[in-house]
C-alpha cells in the first residue's frame, strides 16, 4: 500500500474532514489505486524542466490592474443571506476557544 490508514487520518485532519472508520478503509484503497498510477511520472527525468502553474495569455504584467475606485457592492444583508446562522449582520459560529 502506498498510503496507510494512519496517513489517511492525518490527511483528513489537514483537510477538515471527519471521516468515519469505514470511510477511512475505503479511502486508503481508492487513494492507493490512483497513487500507484501517479508513480508513472517517475519514469520522466524532469530535472531540467521548469514547473508551469498556468497557461496565460501573454500580456503586460500591469494590464489586469484597474483604478482603485469605490464602486457599488453587495449590501450586508445580501452578503450574509445564505449563511446558516447570522447575528446582527455577522456570521455566527460555535465557540473557537474554550476558557
Amino acid at each position: 500500500m502506498k498510503i496507510t490508514e494512519q496517513e489517511v487520518r492525518r490527511v483528513a485532519d489537514l483537510a477538515n474532514l471527519a471521516l468515519r472508520d469505514d470511510e477511512v478503509a475505503r479511502m486508503a484503497i481508492d487513494l492507493d489505486g490512483i497513487l500507484t498510477h501517479i508513480d508513472k511520472l517517475n519514469e520522466l527525468d524532469t530535472s531540467s524542466v521548469e514547473p508551469m502553474a498556468q497557461v496565460l495569455f501573454d500580456t503586460e504584467e500591469t494590464a489586469t490592474l484597474r483604478q482603485d475606485s469605490v464602486r457599488p457592492c453587495l449590501t450586508n444583508a445580501e452578503a450574509v443571506a445564505n449563511a446558516p446562522v447570522t447575528s446582527g449582520g455577522y456570521y455566527k459560529v460555535p465557540k473557537v476557544i474554550d476558557r
Binding site: L14, L17, Q54, L74, V96
Partner: protein, 482 residues
C-alpha cells in the same frame, strides 16, 4: 403535437431569430412551450435541477418588445438556453450538484450569464452535474444521476451531463457547461452533440464555481458547430472581473465557416490511437478520411508525453480543488451540521455530511499531494510534466494547424458500471485532460454511432486562441457528413 416532439425540434439560433423577425412565433410563446416540454420530459433524464419560468418569460418579453419597436433583439434573441448548475445565477438556486449548496441563492450573476441574457438569450433553468464538476458520468450529483437521452440506461457523461442531455433531448437549444478535464467534450460525445472547450482565458470564469482554477473553462454545447460558435461569440472576451481572462480580440467565428478546408494541415497523434477500442477508433478514422476528401492534408504527429497526462492532471486538479473547496465549511453559504460544540468540529461534521464520496476523494488526494514531504514529489513534478505536455503541443502546431483525436476511449457506459473503480474512471479522461493542461481550444463533434446506436465524437484541437480554425474544420466536416 405529440408529447415526444419538442417545440425546439429542428430549431437553431439562426432559425429562431428569423422566425421571430418574421413574426412566425413570439419569444414568449417559444419560452412557454419550451418550459412546458422541459417540465414534462425532465423526469426521463433528470437533466434539469431547477426550471426558471419567471426569469425566462421576462427575458422573452424583453425580446418581443424590442422586436415590436423595431430594435435589434440581439444575437441570441429568444433562444432557450440551459446553464450548468456550477455557474451562478442571481436569485436562482445554484447547487453545484452538492447537498451543501442545496439552498444556495447567489447574490450575483456570472459574466457569461450576464452576456447571454444581454444578447437576448432566455435561460430556462439550471442543469444537473457531478458535484462541484467532479466526475465523468454525472453519477456524483447529490440530486441523482442524469440519464443519457439517447439510451436511458446509460450515463450522459460528465461532469456537464445535464447540459449535454438537455440539448440532445431538445429541452434547450444550446447550453453552457464547464470543462476542467473533459467535462464538456466527453458528455457532448456521449450524447451526440457539439461541445466546445475554448482557450483558457477566452471566456471569463467570474461566477463559475472554482474547481481547479488553472484548468477551469466555461464553454458552449449545441446541436451544431454553428450554434456553439454563436454562443461562444457572445460570451468570449476580456472581463475585468476575472484577472485570467484574456485581452486577445474575439474574431468573427461565423464568418470563418466557409466550408473551405483546402491546405489545412491535420495532425494525428499516434499516442491517442494506441489501444483505442475499434468501435470508437473506426469512427474517428472515418472522420479523418472525410477531412482528407475535403482537402485537408493529414500527417502523423507525436505527443510523446500523453501517457503521463492523467497522472499530472489528477495531481494538479485535486491540489487546486482541495484549496478551492476549503470554503465550504458551514459558515457563509452552505448548510451546517447540527450538534457541533466547537468551530473545528462544526467544519469537520459539515464537510463530512455535505460532500459526496468523489469530492472527499479528490480533497484527500489534493491535500495529500500538497502536504509536507510530498509537495516536490507530486505537485512540483506534475507542474513540470504539464510544461512537457504544453511543449508537445507547441511542437506539433509547428507542423499542423489542427489535431484530430478521439474524445473518450469508449461510448456511453451503463449507469453503475464504473462507480466502484475510481482509478479506471480517471484513466478514461486520457484524451481530454491534455487540452485542459495545455489551455488550447478543443471541441467534440459527432462522428457517427456504434453498431449499438451509441454516439461517438471526434475531437479537434487547435492553437491558443485559434477557435476559428477549430470551428471551420468542425463545421465543414459536419456539413459533409450530414
Amino acid at each position: 403535437m405529440s408529447t415526444d416532439t419538442s417545440p425546439l425540434h429542428g430549431l437553431s439560433i439562426d432559425s429562431i431569430r428569423s422566425g421571430l423577425l418574421a413574426k412566425k412565433f413570439s419569444a414568449e410563446e417559444l419560452a412557454r412551450q419550451s418550459l412546458a416540454f422541459a417540465e414534462a420530459e425532465n423526469p426521463k433524464t433528470n437533466a434539469y435541477l431547477t426550471l426558471s419560468p419567471e426569469r425566462a418569460l421576462s427575458a422573452a418579453r424583453v425580446v418581443d418588445a424590442k422586436i415590436a419597436q423595431g430594435e435589434d433583439p440581439g444575437p441570441l434573441a429568444g433562444v432557450p438556453i440551459a446553464v450548468k448548475d456550477v455557474i451562478v445565477t442571481r436569485g436562482l438556486r445554484t447547487t453545484c450538484g452538492s447537498k451543501l449548496l442545496a439552498n444556495y441563492i447567489p447574490p450575483y450573476d456570472a459574466t457569461a450569464v450576464i452576456r447571454l441574457e444581454q444578447a437576448g438569450g432566455v435561460i430556462l433553468g439550471k442543469t444537473n452535474c457531478d458535484e462541484f464538476a467532479m466526475g465523468s458520468s454525472n453519477e456524483n450529483s447529490a440530486f441523482g444521476p442524469v440519464r443519457n437521452p439517447v439510451a436511458l440506461d446509460r450515463v450522459p457523461g460528465g461532469s456537464s451531463g445535464g447540459s449535454a442531455a438537455v440539448v440532445a433531448q431538445e429541452t434547450a437549444v444550446v447550453s453552457l457547461g464547464s470543462d476542467t478535464g473533459g467535462s464538456i467534450r466527453q458528455p457532448a460525445s456521449f450524447c451526440g452533440i457539439s461541445g466546445v472547450t475554448p482557450t483558457y482565458g477566452r471566456v471569463s470564469r467570474y461566477g463559475l464555481t472554482a474547481f481547479a482554477s488553472s484548468l477551469d473553462h466555461i464553454g458552449p454545447f449545441g446541436k451544431s458547430t454553428r450554434d456553439a460558435a454563436r454562443l461562444l461569440q457572445v460570451i468570449a472576451g476580456r472581463d475585468e472581473m476575472d484577472a485570467t481572462s484574456a485581452f486577445a480580440p474575439v474574431p468573427d467565428y461565423l464568418a470563418a465557416l466557409d466550408g473551405n478546408l483546402r491546405g489545412i494541415k491535420i495532425g494525428l497523434p499516434r499516442e491517442y490511437f494506441d489501444g483505442l477500442a475499434s468501435e470508437t477508433g473506426d469512427l474517428v478514422i472515418a472522420a479523418v478520411e472525410a477531412l482528407k476528401k475535403l482537402g485537408c492534408e493529414v500527417r502523423d504527429i507525436q505527443l510523446p508525453h500523453t501517457p503521463y497526462a492523467v497522472a499530472a492532471y489528477y495531481i494538479i486538479a485535486t491540489a487546486e480543488a482541495s484549496a478551492n473547496l476549503a470554503r465550504y465549511d458551514g459558515v457563509r453559504y452552505t448548510t451546517r451540521a447540527a450538534g457541533a460544540n466547537t468551530l473545528s468540529d462544526m467544519y469537520r461534521m459539515t464537510r463530512d455530511e455535505g460532500f459526496g464520496d468523489e469530492c472527499k476523494r479528490r480533497i484527500m488526494l489534493g491535500t495529500y499531494v500538497l502536504s509536507a514531504g510530498y509537495y516536490d514529489a507530486y505537485y512540483l513534478k506534475a507542474q513540470k510534466v504539464r510544461h512537457l505536455i504544453v511543449r508537445d503541443f507547441a511542437q506539433a502546431f509547428e507542423q499542423v494547424d489542427a489535431i484530430v483525436a478521439p474524445v473518450s476511449p469508449f461510448p456511453a457506459f451503463k449507469l453503475g458500471d464504473m462507480v466502484n473503480d475510481p482509478t479506471a474512471m480517471y484513466l478514461s479522461d486520457i484524451y481530454t485532460v491534455t487540452g485542459d493542461l495545455a489551455g488550447i481550444p478543443c471541441m467534440s463533434v459527432p462522428c457517427g454511432r456504434t453498431p449499438e446506436g451509441l454516439p461517438v465524437g471526434v475531437q479537434i484541437l487547435t492553437r491558443h486562441f485559434d477557435e476559428t480554425t477549430m470551428f471551420r474544420v468542425a463545421d465543414a466536416y459536419e456539413k459533409a457528413s450530414n
